[in-house]
Amino acid sequence: MSVARFWRQQVQRYNLVGNHCRNCDEYYYPPRTTCPFCRRNGEMEEHKFSGKGELVTYTIIHSAAEGFEHQTPYVLGIVKLEEGPRLTSQIIAQPEDVNIGMKVRSVFRKLGESGDKGMLHYGTKFTPA
């Protein structure tokens, strides 16, 4: 993850800032510039999400993604934010305590790092509410 690429989305990651289309009233997170329904007719504005949501589905990852090796087994899930959009996040919970439909809330955690000498990456994860 390059420095500039991460920095560009820092605020969106730290503070769960996505978009709302004033034209069709849909909410989007992760952020995007073009409304998928309205396209050029859309009027996208920034929107900060509450961080409250519900777990739609999840898995327990035993064979980790690069950089996550020391965290296995970890829970990865799809969260539906109360405003509507869904996102993918690690779920901070014991695997046996996780179930579809559980209420979750956002927390500020470290996402990873670019090696021992590189940048630290912070962002939002979710935990049972």
Binding site: Q10, Y14, Q90, I92, F108, R109, K110, L111, L120
Partner: protein
Amino acid sequence: MSVGIVSYGTYIPKYRIKVEDIAKVWGDNADILSAGLMVNEKSVPDLDEDTVTIAVEAARAAICRSSLDPSRIGAIYTGSESHPYAVKPTSTIVAEAVEATPEMTAADFEFACKAGSAGMQACMGLVQSGMADLGLAIGSDVSQGAPGDALEYTAAAGGAAYIIGNKEEEMVAIIEDTYSFTTDTPDFWRREGMPYPEHGGRFTGEPGYFKHVLGAARGLMNKLGTSAEDYDYAVFHQPNGKFPSRVAKMLGFSKEKIAPGLVVTRLGNTYSGSCLMGIAATLDQAKPGDRIFATAFGSGAGADAFSFRVTDKIDKIRDKAPKVEELLANPVYMDYAMYAKHKGKIKRS
């Protein structure tokens, strides 16, 4: 001309390790240790927690508690001895995460366990001089103790954040005054690049902790013309339970007065967050009109003493964010192997 605490927030990771599980590994006597240190267990950060994440959670709790507009924050100072970057401030990450940027100043502080209180003093100055509307001072640490060293039993993780302001309608505790006592005393240190701190053993006691805490505490009480009877509560830096208990006695504070703030028994020493956590735990239950005496200590060495008077505004905001007792409740225990993994004590490459 007054200045005070407008809000406060804390964060404690949910994991703990018991003194007996550490003692098992090194062949120490857990009962004697627990009794001697007056510490039974300490907090352990999750694999994805560090000084920055803890500082952010504490700061967010403070802002949430008071529903303050974060753009009013004119300064953020995070004090820690475990900042994840040696160069690149924790405070700017916090600033972005609480939406206080860009019209503000920031810097990171280091003064062992009193880096957080030093930040509070700096904020007091900025607010009183009119240079800032609100100041945010945070003490946050994921402190390390060398494997097998005495400090390993107490070095814990946690943080507390204080928003300092001077509008009468906003202050929940007025800071009546502050007084510091500082000398160059090498009781505890960590060289650049070294993973664990060094300490002077018994030297950290009298020439370190006691000389400076007493110096600052007595200095403040002289200046204000107060004594222990004038206070309802007292909070001291808590490297263990013994030191604050002894210094409280020396200053004339009863066990009852220091009890609410003495969280170290169940938490360990959160270093820059230590005294600040105790103050928060006290504010969680203090009533309007109560007076709180606090003295933070940092090795190197220095102590910052504060005299607080709680206002009636505390009742409005106290319940709006998690209390220290709530964060101490329902801990999840781990064994030494998991603890070592979490604290990066296992050499992986």
